[in-house]
Symmetry: D3
Amino acid sequence: MKKLNEVAVDEVFEAYLLIKEMNVRTSKAGKRYQQFKFRDKTGEINGFLWDTNEYTVKTFVANTVVHFTGRKELYQGIPQVNQIKLRTLSDSEPSDPQLYEKQGVIKREVLEEGISEFLFLIKQGHYARIARNLLEKYREEFFTYPAAKSLHHDFAGGLAYHTLTMLKVAKGLLEVYPQMNASLLYTGILLHDLGKVLELSGNGNTQYTLRGQLLGHIVLIDEEIIKATQELKIDDADEDVVVLRHLILSHHGQLEFGSPVRPKVLEAEVIHFIDNLDAKVTMITSAIDTLNNGEQTPRVLGLDNRNFYKPLI
Amino acid sequence: MKKLNEVAVDEVFEAYLLIKEMNVRTSKAGKRYQQFKFRDKTGEINGFLWDTNEYTVKTFVANTVVHFTGRKELYQGIPQVNQIKLRTLSDSEPSDPQLYEKQGVIKREVLEEGISEFLFLIKQGHYARIARNLLEKYREEFFTYPAAKSLHHDFAGGLAYHTLTMLKVAKGLLEVYPQMNASLLYTGILLHDLGKVLELSGNGNTQYTLRGQLLGHIVLIDEEIIKATQELKIDDADEDVVVLRHLILSHHGQLEFGSPVRPKVLEAEVIHFIDNLDAKVTMITSAIDTLNNGEQTPRVLGLDNRNFYKPLI
Amino acid sequence: MKKLNEVAVDEVFEAYLLIKEMNVRTSKAGKRYQQFKFRDKTGEINGFLWDTNEYTVKTFVANTVVHFTGRKELYQGIPQVNQIKLRTLSDSEPSDPQLYEKQGVIKREVLEEGISEFLFLIKQGHYARIARNLLEKYREEFFTYPAAKSLHHDFAGGLAYHTLTMLKVAKGLLEVYPQMNASLLYTGILLHDLGKVLELSGNGNTQYTLRGQLLGHIVLIDEEIIKATQELKIDDADEDVVVLRHLILSHHGQLEFGSPVRPKVLEAEVIHFIDNLDAKVTMITSAIDTLNNGEQTPRVLGLDNRNFYKPLI
Amino acid sequence: MKKLNEVAVDEVFEAYLLIKEMNVRTSKAGKRYQQFKFRDKTGEINGFLWDTNEYTVKTFVANTVVHFTGRKELYQGIPQVNQIKLRTLSDSEPSDPQLYEKQGVIKREVLEEGISEFLFLIKQGHYARIARNLLEKYREEFFTYPAAKSLHHDFAGGLAYHTLTMLKVAKGLLEVYPQMNASLLYTGILLHDLGKVLELSGNGNTQYTLRGQLLGHIVLIDEEIIKATQELKIDDADEDVVVLRHLILSHHGQLEFGSPVRPKVLEAEVIHFIDNLDAKVTMITSAIDTLNNGEQTPRVLGLDNRNFYKPLI
Amino acid sequence: MKKLNEVAVDEVFEAYLLIKEMNVRTSKAGKRYQQFKFRDKTGEINGFLWDTNEYTVKTFVANTVVHFTGRKELYQGIPQVNQIKLRTLSDSEPSDPQLYEKQGVIKREVLEEGISEFLFLIKQGHYARIARNLLEKYREEFFTYPAAKSLHHDFAGGLAYHTLTMLKVAKGLLEVYPQMNASLLYTGILLHDLGKVLELSGNGNTQYTLRGQLLGHIVLIDEEIIKATQELKIDDADEDVVVLRHLILSHHGQLEFGSPVRPKVLEAEVIHFIDNLDAKVTMITSAIDTLNNGEQTPRVLGLDNRNFYKPLI
Amino acid sequence: MKKLNEVAVDEVFEAYLLIKEMNVRTSKAGKRYQQFKFRDKTGEINGFLWDTNEYTVKTFVANTVVHFTGRKELYQGIPQVNQIKLRTLSDSEPSDPQLYEKQGVIKREVLEEGISEFLFLIKQGHYARIARNLLEKYREEFFTYPAAKSLHHDFAGGLAYHTLTMLKVAKGLLEVYPQMNASLLYTGILLHDLGKVLELSGNGNTQYTLRGQLLGHIVLIDEEIIKATQELKIDDADEDVVVLRHLILSHHGQLEFGSPVRPKVLEAEVIHFIDNLDAKVTMITSAIDTLNNGEQTPRVLGLDNRNFYKPLI
């Protein structure tokens, strides 16, 4: 069995793969086919099944692991698989989707432990209570949801992974810029994307919920903070609550990116930078990951249509 | 006594005027002076008192009516008054600020009656209850606050006046476009700017509150709706609540104007139009109000720096 | 026989349909096919005839009614028909294109009557004469042209229908904002898009004329007003003529939308709003028209790529 | 007597100067003063008369030549004159404004001759007749108006001067790019800014006319071409007329600069370039004209706020 | 044998054609095919070979002349060839690629002579030496490289041709604007795009080099000038060197087009104009070249998506 | 003696202050005055000396320490001093400018040591040699120049301080993102702004040099790297040199901010983030530094005109 990152272009190969996404499409000429996104721990690749029928449509669906035979090709510079044959697994074969998720090395235990350590670093009382209340309320979702529908951290646990990485960056910055309020910064990071557990449908064929589309994750977590303060009998007119909400509302940095207010507090500006930095580093790393040194990526939409180069040095 | 709209350029005149705004400033050369915005029912004019002292600074403050003597001039094309003398009023003189407010013809009773009529037109149960709950909670502020710090409807009752005008426009549009949901549209309009009673400090030397600056009126009214649903035992996951919040969150039309989501429902798009239309018509009307036919205004900042012409026809 | 709005996805159906547009295309691989836009009163759908020949190319052309058999499918989220068979109609079958036009309920008589009523509301002499002169000169085109090549009001009579709806909105606004000049506003609306009768080739496979492309409908109606004033012996240096031309020249609101001047008169700003509002409401209504409640549209290009939701409420 | 370009900073000097512009202003503190733009053949300078009275306001007006005494200074990096004394001229002194105009070396005869030569190069019949008709109709204005209110070619005859320079550039380009239609290009250039004789009030304290503000010079010359074709019995549906109007309508190059259509014909694109080039070269030359080599200008608003350097080489 | 500009749409024809570009592609369905850009002196056309094999992939490559049989078609309004048969040439057939290049009439001798004439017009010592040094160093590349990968002047010698045309335009402008420094302007033009010989891989299947992608041609020629001054013992702190480098660094006119500084010297602004003008005129001419009068092009990406019209006049 | 951060608004105070900048200005009315920027370790304030003469102009110049008496005021929300009296210091008074510089706690020794530590962390041979070569060549300037003319790090040693802080941030990020090349990242940071020693004139009344204005610091350091490779016999076509130059050329992140290429290598993107982050954190910290908790700054130009709040928490 091959891993995805071991397959050469034009090679026909066999592998166990997780179906990450599956959509039934109709071609312009009216022919039905299945579009797949396959994944194993080493990478991800799109492909098409042209001879499709009721059985294949019902069997080869998202979150299923399959035995795959097919050929790797380049289409407009981007790898895909074709001439696909799929079959279901027998009991003796490795069918647990978790085995195929990207970043699978970050086990949930490790994520939970990492997040937990940072919770202890929140010294300010209201912040510690709000953060614990909401992380407890959405614990299951927080550690299993992706951080986005696509673009970056689009895997089970991606939300917690992105949050934990940001916390680590923040810790380093607090040493260089000690004028920042650590409790505020950590709480802001912990909660900043938690609204995604209400905005998205979960991992695997991730969709936006109606509330996600009409209200957005920024407003949804703001609502959760309001409710938490009520439950915890914290007055939401207290300045610490107002400032925390400001951090989260403004963390997209610019109005045109969906924040209803721009950062007006030092820590708010910094959260925006850390969020943006982690998204960019993750997207670039992911884009050059499967390249050989000396090669470059096709243009990447989420990176302003730039292509990135992986140096020989 | 003259009214402001009867005074010619270069004329020295006497009048009773309301001090709408007063700020103590220091010139570049270090000299202290008072900057005023005066108002009567017929208009508004800025001016400066150069010989200032402790008495004048304490006496001639915002929301006070004074007896005014001075000269009207043009400064960079815009009228102002200078060579000012001010005195306080005796008991026999008309000192009630309400007598000098713009649009003073719209009495509070009329506004309350108008708003009340539209409340009866909200047939959908949840919407009617939410609207009544919040209008009751903030009744006093709603009928006395301006709709903005400056630009348009910046007078006592301006918020209710702007809201009522929008409701009237909406009523006309519902006849032409019956496909719209009247309850949704009316509730959205009634609440869309109500967050300003928390964003602004009130009428007269209007300032932004801290919550206003860090959260903004859109998020503040969203919070109030959440609290109202909790108080009224309405499930905020109900679609009608989600859609209503969407209308209000998206009513600035574009992300770059501070809405965290863009309109995705017909009535949301229409509220944005009505709001924008009423703001523009009010600003233009106000800008050309004191002109003679055949004249034009200086460039108006809030109208994309255009100047407007008042035709002879 | 089915109506278009009664057909389910994946259903094979028979219907009488009007061919609204037909283009002969060549695929990348060099194969010729026909692309259709079909329409009946209830909707519109695209489709392809892959087995095409000289006969089908000459017979199944725009503005022809055909007997249709085929299958409805989704392609990239948008409905289309495929596996098409077409035949011409016998004499006993309903072959009048008018029977299949969208909005067919608005009969020409109703439009003419509606427009005529508003002509009577123009009290100012010059305006009444200019409006009547030009509507008379282009009466036939005005009542049969679409308002646009696509996007909105792209049906026979769409131009008059759009104009009449705007007049109705204007009437409602004049009650709320009586400071506007009704004669000016009505004349401006009546003429604002009349240049389209010179810009476009007519209804059915609508194309831009050379003058349309090189001069544009705004300049073309301006030219017509100049000629009308000459014919009617009205001095075009008169301020009322200048202001009317200003309204029409500025009605796109912004230079980047093709207006050579920005609105500088109250009524000019308002026409721009009404025009924009009617376009948006029509596009949104049209986009959600065939949805069930609780569904949303694909992204709509003409609406800034937003998708719209049709609420359950 | 000094020339303006001979005076050093901080020098007190005497000169004969033309008052190019005069405005009576009021300072923020309510004091009246006169603001001047003075000019002689070698340059231009602003200044203020602080001790003003009825006599000075009536006497020292635009288009008057005066005897000047005063001091040259820098204000925010820009030269101005102060401590001014003015007196009127005796009969023996040189009071003809023409003697003080910038570019005065270009005598009207030279301009007329230059323009006339190019008229002979227009071989196409309709174009030759339209160009002659309109240049004849507005001959006096064409040779005495400035090309703009400020920014560039803001002197008597500036319009004709700018036009003639553009024609010369076009002649050079026709040798390099012979695929262009010379008659079309020359006619387009000759007429492109002629609408300014209707948009502006003339030379000296130049103002926009009402038609200029509400319609703009592009539409005004388009109107004149329509009228010329009618007078000359040329059918304005003829393609040559349509293309000529297109050139002029599109000569600002972009919609956001006020052209209602973008250039869609080769010669239209080229006119836009020549116009833009001549404006830029003129503005830069004018900005560095009075500098010594090795110096640079303050930031120039009309040149995107850049400052320009005059090299030593 | 036909020339490309003699072939009608839907015509099957035979011709000798140069393969300008060839890429092996895979279709979405996984099928391999060859994509060609063919060229002869009269034009250029794309096409596909669907039945491809190892032999065709190795034989029919870029910079080869072939005997072609196939059919001309329109695909989305743009001509292409299909149903292609290709064979290699016998010795008696015309196989020299130069015979098929666009603009082939400009022989290299003519280009060399033209460039040489302008070298003699550079009177300033440093400039003459730097220009000669670098043109000598890269003589072969300068006269054989295209000026761009596509868009304009994408043929062997295109770089020298574009440079020479710009020099001719500059000569004409120097007569109209004698205030410019001819040596500076000519040297700037000669060197402005010379960095492309390091940025691009050469003529035929032109690619960007790694240095081209990571540094860009503007920085690459700047580096060459620095090295030339060192070799020639010219102090690069001398103002003439600084100003020359400024011209070249700023010749894209705007930061967003890749110039690290904006033009701040008259000649810098003018080079930018000439460069832009020649690119535009060349692209438009090329786009309308094969049209009949009265036709228009499809939308052209490099011309802001405009379509251009070729008038009947 | 007071420190600047101890003085209240409206307080008259005495202090030793460093004159950071001094300019002689002329008022609109022609009166000469001196504009100062004063500084001590605790802050910075502008002020004016209205009674100026030859002696004061020559004596109270940039980089001088003076004994100051005057009054602190607010002008348009920003503190300034007025009613100033200045005298020179006696020998017994503290006249060393270094004692008054912001961030004076960072002694040069500390900076040198910090930078030196990071030099040891550069393991790649070429990078280590280039970095050492250039830091040695410009050691004196590097440790005494400001990082900018104003906005941020505008104090002696600011350039080295900014560089060192960025290196510390980079070190923290390398722990979180170990996929980055440390040698490349550190070398890029060390050199990224070194061109400023050629772009700026030094500390105190900092000006742009001619090369700074016409070439910019990005191109100037690129030139220095080229020269260093020549001196060190490193082939500048080596990929490591190309990638290093790319990092520095692209570190402004966007073309419109003056980078001739956008980041296309992971470390290039990250340097841009660190640079931007340090600039923002420094500007915000500096803006809120002298505030009391619960206050906010006036709008800050360099921070997109936002005002920042210093929370009570």
